[in-house]
């Protein structure tokens, strides 16, 4: 098999992967960096992030405020040492991006502008209109072109990590253009493969977000941490699921039910604030978990607006005026007008909560290292964990920068002392991985289709692992996913050719999603408490005695995952009450 040799190989070339690659290139230009992705870097889903990236920059703000907002927002499931590192590195990373050319929006005096965001006590979200993720991604991608040591392998799909001698030493990947399998041999591997929102039918996530990076690590024995915490973003377009950024509310947009009532005040996030004058950490600037949960209750009460795409609330931005909307939310206006035929300048926009982000992911420590030697992870695929039970909006772009860089630096340090691998042993493992893929081509008489199983997986996730959960639904989902795991072995490819075979790609992606989905539901069933984005109708209280711990799901090829737990790191903030009732006590 053709072998590509590198010092460090990175899987995923979105925000975290690119940031890691640049950190490596800057740390030591002699290190050969292989950056592989199943898509061209600029297609990565970082491009769809809209609102911005959090980092303390203004004089009335402090690292302590950012820390407290994040830890409380995460319902105390965050590792506080990781959050300390995040908030301390955040401003440096955002300035670094500025130095690389990121077109941040500006104040009249030329300094960087910041906007309010949900769950944040101060204005600290750096933004580039409402295409912040897009600009971060392109700035990183374009900057990466400066470095000759970064060798890109665009449109390569990684299938298996290669672990030998107790450490990760590379992986196999299919070159989409030829269908050929290649072996990547590296002293260290960084996974930056993004989230897994496509397990659900209604999501803001692009087609590529199928949990491949998570599944790679998981199958190699690395646990997936806190997978039961799935974030619903409150404001998705009801038909396509397209994200309407939280900045809509940061700029002053309001949420009303079908009677015109700003219903968040009835769910511990009031009293009502003046129209167009948002107040930090209350009403429409409450955290995403609480706002999505309030929607669920209003829907049960029949207070939502029935539409052909399901019940909706209304996001009213009319009072912001055309000028502000055009300057600050141009993408939002374009998206709602094009895809829904509703202009936010003249009409309220119907929206409903939509699966957006995985708080959980590959278990890493504060150095972005996984328990498997030689394997690092960063970005949405990883759980470090700064998001805890609920991520605050605008912390994820910051996270991929801070921990993308950290993964690069940690890998650079690690490979300095890495021993050379045993070529023959690595080749044998690669050959086994190749045989697994080849068997998919050889299978005949398979009774299952990728599209059919995918549909069933999505339906059970939507039905049973949504905003509110209970033992019955979760058990049903676990059983169903176990059944799908067996039936997956019966999938037969319709396309048995080699060049850009998306039938094969989708079958492999489905395998990744099924693994992630089982980790979600089994971990959710085991967590018999309600915390952050994981709400149990049968266990409504938070239970710190039993569950102030991270869940760890361990993969088993033929059985549901085994769930274990590890302690949360607490430095200064003891678990308390999440209060989003504003200043009006």
């Amino acid at each position: 098999m053709e072998t590509v040799r590198a010092d460090v190989a990175i899987i995923g070339a979105g925000g975290a992967g690119l940031r890691a690659a640049i950190a490596l290139a800057e740390a030591d230009p002699k290190l050969r960096v292989a950056l592989i992705s199943k898509v061209y870097p600029m297609r990565s889903h970082t491009c769809a992030a809209e609102g911005g990236a959090a980092g303390v920059i203004k004089s009335d703000d402090s690292l302590e405020h950012h820390f407290n907002d994040t830890v409380g927002g995460g319902d105390w499931l965050c590792d506080q040492d990781a959050v300390e590192y995040l908030v301390q590195e955040a401003p440096k990373e955002l300035i670094q991006l500025e130095h690389w050319g990121c077109p941040w929006s500006r104040e009249p005096n030329g300094s960087v502008a910041v906007r309010p965001f949900g769950g944040m006590k101060k204005q600290r979200t750096w933004f580039a209109a409402d295409k912040s993720g897009f600009h971060i991604l392109h700035t990183l991608f374009q900057t990466s072109l400066r470095f000759p040591s970064i060798e890109r392998y665009d449109e390569y799909y990684a299938t298996d990590l290669i672990v030998d001698d107790g450490r990760c030493q590379g992986f196999t990947a299919i070159e989409m253009r030829s269908g050929q399998m290649k072996r990547f041999q590296a002293g260290a591997v960084i996974i930056a493969g993004g989230g897994a929102g496509r397990m659900f039918p209604f999501t803001t996530n692009g087609a590529i977000k199928t949990g491949d990076g998570m599944a790679l690590a998981y199958r190699a024995g690395v646990p997936l941490k806190d997978m039961e915490f799935v974030q619903y973003h409150p404001t998705g377009l009801p038909n396509t699921g397209t994200l309407l950024t939280e900045a809509c509310r940061g700029e002053g947009g309001i949420l009303v039910n079908k009677n015109g009532r700003r219903f968040l005040q009835d769910y511990g996030m009031g009293p009502e604030t003046p129209l167009g004058k948002p107040v930090f950490k209350t009403m429409e600037l409450g955290p995403r978990d609480r706002v999505s949960q309030a929607f669920w209750h209003e829907q049960k009460k029949g207070n939502m607006l029935p539409t052909k795409w399901g019940d909706c609330m209304l996001l009213d931005m009319r009072h912001l005026g055309e000028k502000t909307i055009n300057e600050r939310l141009p993408l939002v206006r374009d998206v709602t007008t094009s895809y829904l035929g509703v202009d936010p300048v003249t009409d309220p926009v119907p929206v409903r909560p939509v699966v957006h982000y995985m708080m959980g992911g590959i278990h890493t420590d504060i150095r972005a290292a996984t328990p498997l030697a030689g394997l690092f992870a960063a970005g949405e695929c990883a759980c470090v964990s700064i998001n805890g039970a609920n991520r605050l909006g605008s912390n994820s772009l910051t996270e991929l920068l801070v921990f993308g860089r950290r993964a690069g630096l940690s890998a650079a340090e690690y490979v300095r002392s890495a021993r050379p691998g045993n070529d023959a042993a690595l080749e044998a493992k690669a050959t086994a991985a190749q045989a697994r893929i080849r068997s998919l081509f050889e299978k005949t008489g398979g009774k299952e289709s990728t599209a059919g199983l995918r549909k069933e997986m999505m339906a059970t996730m939507e039905q049973n692992a949504g905003i509110y959960r209970d033992a019955n639904g979760l058990s049903e989902a676990c059983t169903k996913l176990g059944e799908l795991r067996h039936r997956y072995a019966e999938v037969e490819l319709n396309d048995k050719t080699n060049v850009y075979n998306t039938d094969l790609l989708q079958a492999l992606e489905l395998g990744s999603m099924l693994d992630c989905a089982e980790a979600v539901t089994v971990s959710a069933l085991a967590r018999t408490e309600s915390r952050g984005a994981h709400q149990r109708l049968d266990f409504v209280e938070r239970n710190d005695t039993k569950f102030l711990r991270h869940s760890l799901a361990f993969h088993h090829p033929a059985q549901p995952p085994r769930v274990d737990y590890c302690d949360v790191v607490i430095t200064t903030s003891q678990p308390g009450v999440r209060d989003y009732s504003g200043d009006h006590k």
């Binding site: 769809a48 374009q142 072109l145 400066r146 087609a207 994200l243 599209a451 396309d495």
Partner: protein
């Protein structure tokens, strides 16, 4: 919900099994508000899993799904079915080699993008500890529209010059070089000039303006190219006729 049956005629080509490209007809029931990409996805899920095309975000920002729809370069995720009558013909982006079906080989663009050095070459280096470069909203506005390029390459498919002269560096790459040239923090214009003012650079453009018309993000590459031409002319005059004037 209102549905209608849409007829699509899709270009198929698999280099392993086809000697040349051919069209395949699909009838698929679609929602009124759908885009061409939705129709392709439904075909792939329910009729023909072998159909290959690129897509991801479904919100016109990732730039994956550029293709020719009834002969015009479009993002499939923003080509609304309601705007077409009769059979809709879907082909891979013009001027690029076909890899398979609607998937094109885009190496040429990726290489050209790198050649124009689309990254900030600072006028003066400044450590991160000294904070951000100041840039007023007016300075930002000078280059902002050119930052919006999503690299979808519709402009290359629309550009008659690129079709005739494959070495032409092309609209998006020039617009991105111009984006950095216009940035108040940047001092790298001379370095980029070698690429974009060369024979295969801006001078190949005959100012048809098709690039700007098809751009889904309303970037104006044609405007960028003309501005580069004017500045290059001024450079030439300064260098050859007025050597005493500093650039």
């Amino acid at each position: 919900m209102s549905e209608r049956v849409v007829e699509l005629e899709v270009l198929r080509y698999n280099p392993e099994t086809d000697s040349e490209p051919h069209f395949q007809r699909y009838s698929v029931s679609c929602e009124e508000e759908w885009v061409v990409l939705d129709a392709l996805n439904k075909i792939k899920e329910t009729i023909d899993p072998t159909l290959s095309y690129r897509w991801s975000c479904h919100m016109a920002v990732c730039g994956s799904c550029g293709m020719m729809v009834n002969g015009e370069p479009k993002l499939a995720c923003k080509a609304f079915l309601r705007t077409f009558d009769g059979v809709i013909r879907v082909e891979p982006l013009a001027h690029f080699p076909i890899e398979r079906d609607l998937v094109t080989v885009i190496d040429d663009f990726v290489m050209k993008l790198k050649r124009v050095k689309p990254y900030l070459i600072p006028k003066q280096d400044k450590p991160v500890s000294e904070g951000e470069y100041l840039q007023t909203p007016a300075e930002l506005k000078k280059y902002k529209q050119y930052t919006l390029c999503i690299n979808c390459m519709l402009c290359y498919a629309a550009c008659p010059e690129y079709g005739l002269i494959p070495n032409y560096i092309g609209p998006a790459a020039i617009a991105l070089a111009h984006r950095y040239n216009q940035d108040s923090r940047d001092g790298g214009r001379d370095e980029r000039q070698e690429e974009i003012a060369a024979t295969e650079g801006v001078w190949d453009c005959s100012f048809v303006g098709a690039c700007s018309e098809v751009c889904p993000e309303h970037v104006d590459p044609a405007g960028a190219i003309q501005q580069v031409k004017i500045k290059s002319m001024v450079d030439w005059y300064k260098e050859h006729l007025m050597p005493w004037v500093k650039k």
